[in-house]
């Protein structure tokens, strides 16, 4: 991970660590914090704790998003402190905010991935969102049925996705919530794929319909078990809801936030150390019983 971040994430880049609640690469976010990247534009449908931590660590200058919160808990306090003038600390500046709806953010990635100048959608009518985001515009249908709203393409410098497995070539397979990882990866100039397990290519090729991203567009494959904690990986481990609630308390206090970053990010050399610090028993407690998918047959045609 150290090498992947060093090689592909640079100061000033637009970075998309995607994953809707599921498979969020906290391991990548923490490594970016450790490497002290600055002035990043952070794109994500739901910034979540990973961006709250990156903002708290001073990595970000701008957010592109559609829902800003701690899912199931409440607010992202570090981000709020950079958003509400009354809460702004001395010497700090307000974050730039570029705001959409969920469908709009998905559409931005789709347009970027399909090399389209815009993505049309039925949203924003009579909402104040287009008034505060001039990039949300209307387009005239060529079939005489009026105008529809549109969002522009988003092509991040780097997309970072986490998944259950990939082969050495970076062919990524995923199940459970798919979010917009495929679209974000195809839209990005560079892609880092982080996985729980590296499998032989034969495992990938045995079920080609499960592949969401081909090695062709992946610049780095990182093997990082539990790399999505405190978010979850379907079938591997559960969401650490206790930590999501705990972060609400920590993040309300800048000093506590700093202390947490020191103990759990700066003072640890990598994700393996983070996992070791929690201990195997802790993750065992997050592991669900098995729920197998069953097997389908592709047929051997020769």
């Amino acid at each position: 991970m150290r090498d992947a971040i060093a090689a592909h994430v640079h100061d000033g880049d637009t970075v998309a660590i995607e994953g809707f609640t599921h498979c969020i690469s906290f391991a990548a976010g923490h490594e970016i914090i450790r490497q002290k990247r600055r002035d990043l534009t952070l794109a994500r449908m739901t910034p979540d704790l990973v961006y709250d931590q990156m903002v708290a660590a001073g990595c970000a200058k701008k957010l592109i998003f559609s829902w800003l919160g701690n899912p199931g808990v409440g607010s992202l306090h570090a981000i709020r402190r950079r958003t509400e003038p009354a809460a702004l600390a001395a010497g700090e500046t307000l974050l730039e905010m570029e705001e959409y709806s969920h469908h709009g953010m998905v559409g931005r990635y789709v347009a970027g991935a399909h090399r389209l100048p815009f993505y049309p959608l039925r949203s924003y009518s009579e909402s104040d969102l287009p008034k505060v985001n001039p990039l949300i515009r209307q387009v005239e249908s060529p079939y005489g049925d009026g105008k529809i709203w549109a969002v522009p393409p988003l092509n991040p410098d780097v997309a970072i996705i986490h998944a259950q497995r990939a082969d050495e070539e970076g062919n990524v397979q995923m199940w459970g919530l798919l979010g917009c990882q495929k679209e974000a990866a195809f839209a990005a100039k560079r892609v880092i794929a982080v996985v729980e397990e590296i499998v032989p290519t034969s495992v990938i090729r045995a079920d080609p319909n499960r592949t969401i991203v081909p090695g062709l567009i992946v610049n780095a494959v990182v093997h990082e078990p539990f790399g999505a904690h405190p978010s979850y990986v379907q079938g591997d481990y559960d969401r650490d809801n206790a930590f999501y609630r705990e972060w609400d308390t920590i993040s309300r206090d800048p000093a506590a936030t700093e202390a947490w970053l020191k103990e759990w990010v700066y003072d640890l050399r990598d994700r393996a150390a983070y996992v070791a610090k929690f201990g195997a028993a802790y993750f065992k407690g997050l592991t669900p019983p098995s729920a197998p998918s069953g097997v389908v047959d592709y047929g051997d045609y020769r």
Binding site: F20, T21, H22, M45, T46, F65, S66, W67, L68, G69, P71, G72, S75, I79, R80, T83, E84, P85, A86, L94, E99, Y100, S101, H102, H103, V106, V110, L121, R122, S123, Y124, S125, E126, S127, D128, L129, V132, D145, G146, W175, G176, L177, L178, G179, C180, K182, E183, Y232, Q234, D238, R239, N241, Y244, P288, A291
Partner: protein
């Protein structure tokens, strides 16, 4: 069965919301209270209801109460788990959602909602989560139900920011515009709070329909930032049944995290 504690106001709100879903087929679920109301409805008045989660799940069959909008329990055992592009494009915008559940920090008399900021957008007093899927749900779900606690801070005469359109400035204008612009939905139909249940009259203005047991008309009126339309006789919201309370307390929210 042992003596039950009387229903709390949150429980009254959840039960009233669940009952409003009777007979509905496809419901777009939100986190928190809507989540509990919808799961209660599926166990009571709407067993055939399909739960759709914006995270990308159709026909969810959660084995536990989902703690977040993307809880893994909504995936395992679901009918279909799809990309968010498909969920918002094929299911929501495609017109397959009967009821969308929304809440907000502010609502006005026409059911327009604010989930973006309190104060000025550029320099907000309070930064709220934003739209998420709310804006397109309000436009594309065939019908919108709102569930939120009421107070003079949340039931306001003027929104600080309109995130999701309701009946705009009134039903006539709203209906015309929704038709002309090809919106999929007809807007808000029911608002359920911790004190009462509201509908919308033919002008698209909110109207008191029933008051929860234990709440008074004065209390209701004093927690709304405009003169709420009130019929001559306001019935009382039917009380929760023992089974409804048991489901909430023992199955859906045993830790009392939400209700």
């Amino acid at each position: 069965m042992s003596e039950q504690k009387p229903a709390s106001r949150n429980e009254l709100m959840v039960v009233a919301a669940a009952r409003a879903l009777e007979g509905k087929r496809v419901c777009f679920v939100g986190v928190g209270l809507p989540n509990i109301a919808v799961n209660l409805a599926k166990r009571t008045v709407a067993p055939q209801m399909e739960l759709v989660y914006e995270a990308g799940v159709f026909g969810a069959n959660p084995a536990r109460l989902p703690l977040s909008i993307g809880d893994p329990t909504i995936v395992t055992g679901s009918t279909a788990t799809v990309s968010m592009h498909d969920l918002f494009g094929l299911y929501l915008q495609g017109g397959r959602i009967d009821v969308g559940f929304l809440g907000g920090a502010q609502i006005d008399k026409y059911g327009n909602l604010n989930t973006t900021v309190i104060g000025d957008y550029a320099a907000p007093k309070t930064r709220l989560p934003g739209s998420g899927g709310a804006c397109e749900i309000a436009i594309n779900a065939k019908e919108i139900m709102v569930i939120m606690r009421q107070s003079t801070r949340s039931f306001v005469s003027t929104l600080d920011f309109r995130t999701s359109p309701g009946h705009l400035g009134g039903a006539a204008a709203s209906a015309t515009l929704r038709r002309e612009q090809g919106w999929g939905g007809s807007g808000p139909s029911v608002v359920v709070t911790d004190l009462a249940v509201y509908g919308f009259n033919s002008d698209g203005e909110m109207e008191l329909r029933s008051i929860h047991p234990g709440a008074t008309l004065d209390e209701v009126k004093s927690t709304i930032g405009w003169e709420i339309r009130t019929p001559a006789n306001v019935p009382e919201t039917p009380s929760p049944t023992a089974e409804e309370l048991r489901l909430i307390r023992e199955e859906l929210d045993p830790t009392g995290a939400y209700v």
